[in-house]
């Protein structure tokens, strides 16, 4: 058993670390939501974060792209290193961070006043980046292809974003996030509002996307983590309990709490 764990940690060390959280804590006012998290997300790998409701998974992930502080009264302490640079260093512009670390949310939110193609290009257009028509169309097509949505919408790019089904809207949000060419993609329970078929499509998408991006997936669905993630981290009441290869976490967890959660004794 020790042997397997040693092998796992050596494999982990070998992977290039794209995003690293060090002594990361987050607060809502006086309440501390996550405590002293140390976690490394290797490049081109899907890392899942699992745990019962309220354990701080969403909070953790929102700290990774400085979205946590958007809420009034919320703050984070510690470091998050993107390619070695701390995104929480003084003087760092959170807006720039979010262009390199993208996010897809639980609820699909296409911008209601925009068409499908405008939605995809929104990240560029809203930032005043002027693109000529052909270039913009190329970006829209590329992003929609990456999100596996191109074939379904290529005939109706001018239609409103809200005219798509739930699963399509979520893939539109993925395309929109990809259009600004982030390096990391954070996904906060992206399938929990979707039906099983759309969920399966998004999971397929994850496996395709990891070749080009680093993906962090928050999910309350353990089977989803087992299906899609290479690495899994288990969070409980704000603490990181265990982190390792998915296979090892699910078949041979090192900690009692992990085993209790996996086997369904709580949460």
């Amino acid at each position: 058993m020790d042997d397997a764990r040693e092998r796992a940690s050596r494999t982990l060390d070998a992977m290039a670390e794209k995003l690293v959280a060090r002594h990361l804590s987050a607060y809502f006012g006086q309440t501390r939501a996550i405590h002293d998290i140390n976690l490394a997300f290797p490049a081109n790998v899907v890392t899942a974060i699992i745990g019962p409701s309220g354990c701080g998974k969403s909070t953790l992930v929102r700290c990774l792209n400085r979205m946590h502080e958007v809420v009034h009264g919320a703050r984070a302490e510690g470091e998050v290193l993107l390619d070695g640079d701390d995104i929480y260093a003084p003087g760092v512009d959170a807006v720039q961070v979010r262009r390199r670390i993208g996010m897809v949310f639980q609820k699909p939110t296409p911008f209601p006043t925009m068409s499908i193609e405008d939605n995809v290009a929104a990240g560029l257009k809203l930032n005043g980046i002027a693109l000529k028509r052909p270039e913009r169309d190329r970006i829209v097509e590329r992003s929609l292809r990456q999100a596996a949505l191109w074939d379904e919408v290529k005939e109706r790019l001018r239609r409103p974003g809200a005219s798509l089904s739930g699963g399509q809207q979520q893939r539109l949000c993925v395309a929109r996030a990809l259009a600004v060419e982030p390096e990391v993609l954070l996904m906060d329970e992206p399938c929990s509002a979707l039906d099983p078929i759309s969920t399966a499509r998004i999971e397929e998408l994850l496996l395709e996307l990891k070749a080009s991006y680093t993906i962090v997936l928050v999910t309350h669905n353990m089977q989803q983590a087992a299906r899609t993630a290479d690495l899994t981290a288990f969070l409980y009441t704000g603490d990181l309990i265990e982190f390792g290869e998915t296979r090892q976490i699910f078949t041979n967890p090192a900690r009692r709490e992990t085993e209790d959660y996996i086997t369904g004794r709580f949460g």
Binding site: M67, G73, V95, R98, F105, A122, L126, N127, R176
Partner: protein, 289 residues
């Protein structure tokens, strides 16, 4: 049937009857309340429509006691006043609404919101006194500007509150999605949140315009009134509301006839704005009062 159950069913019948009567009273109250609406509109048309001719819309008032003349200067005056007031009041109102929605939790914002609510409770005649003190007295006379300032002061809290409420109705997930794309805060507020709420904000502004179009009291000693065209921003100006008021309380039957016509025009403008706005936003969320 036992005696007890007979008594019971008699009591139930009595209770049901009482309930029906009370509900009937409620319906009666509704009818009585709505009756004046139809009566007034009918009287406006009956007594005013016959006086609406081209002369009414193109001529100035005739000298005192003479027949004829029109309300051209009053109609244009009202348009000028609400135009000028909107120019001042709408940007301040929308800007304040944007600030209050963006800084929703801060103590200053709560104080400012409270201030806007308080402003809505100021009687319009008192607003007129304020405009008199800060515009008419320093300028040495009644003026279009003073009237517009008074109307703008009435408009601002209305536009502020409806703008803020419409902005807050936009789901916060939309704002977060834009921020997560790396769009700066101010661009998100303008091009995503405000754009989504745009029709609601416009509705609020138009309803505020409809409200000030019908105001009389604050104009009585600010814009005052004018028998002729207003030559500049610093001269007094006629308005439909003040003109109707002046004619209505006068002893001249010809003026009284014109008062009805003016009232019909005024009511048509105001109701057209109200109805138009509601028709355009049918199905959307209710606009704040």
């Amino acid at each position: 049937m036992t005696a007890k159950s007979t008594a019971h069913s008699r009591r139930t019948t009595w209770r049901k009857a009482k309930s029906d009567v009370m509900m009937g009273v409620a319906v009666l109250a509704t009818v009585i309340t709505l009756l004046p609406l139809f009566i007034i509109l009918t009287y406006l048309v009956l007594k005013g429509a016959s006086s609406l001719n081209l002369a009414f819309f193109t001529h100035m008032p005739a000298p005192v006691g003479e027949k004829g003349g029109g309300m051209a200067n009053a109609i244009v005056g009202t348009l000028e006043l609400i135009g000028l007031a909107s120019l001042m009041g709408v940007p301040v109102g929308i800007g304040s609404g944007l600030y209050l929605a963006a800084h929703h939790g801060s103590r200053f914002a709560s104080a400012a919101r409270f201030g806007a609510d308080v402003m809505m409770g100021v009687p319009s005649i008192v607003v007129g006194i304020f405009a008199y003190a800060v515009v008419v007295r320093p300028m040495g006379g009644f003026s279009t500007l003073a009237g517009a300032v008074a109307l703008a002061v009435i408009m601002i809290p209305l536009v502020t509150r409806t703008t803020e409420e419409m902005l807050l109705l936009v789901p916060h997930e939309l704002r977060e999605a834009a921020l997560a794309l790396g769009v700066p805060g101010w661009r998100t507020t303008l091009w995503v949140v405000a754009r989504t709420a745009a029709s609601g904000i416009a509705t609020g502004a138009i309803l505020a315009i409809a409200r000030i179009a019908g105001e009389t009291a604050p104009l009585l000693f600010t814009a005052f009134g004018n028998r002729f065209w207003a030559t500049s921003l610093t001269s007094p100006i006629a308005s439909l509301t003040v003109q109707v008021y002046t004619y209505a309380i006068s002893p001249f039957p010809d003026w009284q006839r014109q008062a009805w016509a003016g009232a019909l025009v005024l009511t048509t403008i105001v109701l057209a704005l109200e109805l138009g706005v509601r028709w355009m936003t049918r199905g959307s969320a209710r606009v704040a009062r």
